[in-house]
Amino acid sequence: MSASLETYLARLYLDADARRAFAADPRGAAARAGLDETDVAALEQIDHAGLELTARSLQAKREARPRRGWLARLLARWCLR
C-alpha cells in the first residue's frame, strides 16, 4: 500500500537512526517495516545520497520556518490601516 510506503519514507526523512539501519540493510529494514515486495524492491534501488540530502533539507526547512502567522497578520494590519 502506498500509504505505508509514504509512512516509511517519512520515518527515513525524519529519523537518522532509521536511515542508518536502512543503509546497513535496505531490504531487511524495509521488509521489517511491513512493506510489500514491490516497495521493498523499490527501496533497494534508492538514491542514498539523495535520501540524506532530502532529510537534511527537510530538517533545515523545519528549523528555518518562520513562525510568521502573527507577524504576517500584524504587518498586514499595520500596512493597511
Binding site: A3, S4, E6, A10, T54, S57, A72, A76, R77
Partner: protein, 282 residues
C-alpha cells in the same frame, strides 16, 4: 489570447511595505494561506482589504493532497474559513505529502508517482473542492530524491495528476528546472509534455547548489536567491507554447534584497513573457 499576462510577488511580512509602496508595478500578490489559519476576524478583514486593493491569490503549504492517505478535514475546514473571508481570485496547493502515519515532515515531500497516490490525490482534491468551494491549482514540487516507488516520470505524473483531478497545474518553473538538473532530464522537453492548456499560474524562484556526491551537485529550491536565467528561459518557452494568459508569481523566502531588486525580477519575468509571445507572433 484572452486576458493578459500578470506578474506578481509572494506577500511576505518583510516585503509588505515595499509591495504596498509599489502597487503600480505589482499586478497581484500571493499570500500563504496557512499564515491565516486560526486568524481572528480582524486579521481576515485586513487581508480582505488587501484583496480589494490588489488582486490576491492564496497558496497552501500543508494540506498534503498528493497522498494515498485522506486529507485532514479539519485543515480543509480551516482553509475554507480563510478562503470564504478573503475571497481570493484562486487558491493553490502542492503535489506533495507532508505527513503520514502520524509523522509530520514539516515541509513538502515528493510522493511516489503511481496510481495509488493518484487515487488518493483525486479523492483529496474532490474533498477540498466540496469543503472549500473550489479546487486548488496543483503545484509541482522540487525534490532532491527521485521518489522511491514511482513508476512514471515527472511529466507523465503531472499530466496524470491534472487528468485525475480535473484541475489546473500551478507550474513552478524553478522546481522543474531543479528536478531536471538533479535527475538529468531536459527541462524544455519536459515542459513540452505537460498539460499546458491547464496552466494559468506560474511560480519562479531561485535556489542554491548543494551536495557533492562524487562530484554530483544538486539544486535546492530554497527561494533565497535570484531567479536564474534558465528559469526565465523556461518562462519564455512556456509563453510561446500556450495561448493562456499567465499569472506569474516571483517567490522569495529569505535573504531579502531591496524591493527594487525584486521589482526588477518582476520586470525580467514580463520581458520573458513578452519574448515568448513574440516568438508565436513572428
Amino acid at each position: 489570447m484572452l486576458g493578459h499576462d500578470r506578474v506578481g510577488l509572494g506577500w511576505r511580512p518583510e516585503l509588505a511595505a515595499g509591495i504596498l509602496a509599489n502597487l503600480d508595478r505589482v499586478d497581484l500578490v500571493e499570500v500563504i494561506a496557512d499564515d491565516y489559519v486560526g486568524a481572528g476576524r480582524r486579521e481576515l478583514r485586513a487581508l480582505r482589504t488587501l484583496a480589494i486593493q490588489v488582486p490576491l491569490v492564496l497558496h497552501g503549504v500543508s494540506l498534503g493532497l498528493a497522498s494515498a492517505a485522506p486529507v485532514d478535514g479539519r485543515r480543509l475546514d480551516a482553509l475554507a474559513r480563510v478562503v470564504g473571508a478573503v475571497e481570493p481570485q484562486a487558491w493553490s496547493e502542492h503535489l506533495a505529502f507532508v505527513r503520514s502515519g502520524g509523522l509530520e515532515l514539516g515541509h513538502l515531500a515528493a510522493p511516489p508517482r503511481r496510481d495509488a497516490t493518484l487515487g488518493g490525490l483525486a479523492a483529496n482534491v474532490a474533498r477540498a473542492r466540496a469543503i472549500v468551494g473550489s479546487a486548488p491549482a496543483l503545484e509541482n514540487v522540487a525534490t532532491l530524491i527521485d521518489p522511491p516507488g514511482s513508476d512514471r516520470d515527472e511529466p507523465a505524473w503531472l499530466a496524470d495528476a491534472v487528468a485525475a483531478t480535473g484541475g489546473e497545474l500551478l507550474l513552478d518553473l524553478h522546481n522543474l528546472h531543479a528536478n531536471a538538473v538533479n535527475f538529468g532530464f531536459d527541462a524544455h522537453a519536459a515542459l513540452a509534455r505537460l498539460p499546458l492548456a491547464r496552466v494559468r499560474f506560474v511560480h519562479v524562484a531561485g535556489g542554491a547548489w548543494i551536495g557533492n556526491d562524487g562530484g554530483r551537485r544538486r539544486v535546492l529550491d530554497d527561494h533565497r536567491h535570484d531567479v536564474p536565467a534558465p528559469v526565465f528561459d523556461l518562462l519564455a518557452d512556456l509563453a510561446a507554447r500556450t495561448p493562456n494568459p499567465l499569472t506569474v508569481i516571483v517567490e522569495r523566502d529569505g535573504d531579502y534584497p531591496p524591493i527594487e531588486h525584486l521589482l526588477a525580477e518582476l520586470d525580467r519575468a514580463r520581458s520573458a513573457l513578452a519574448g515568448g509571445r513574440a516568438r508565436v507572433a513572428a
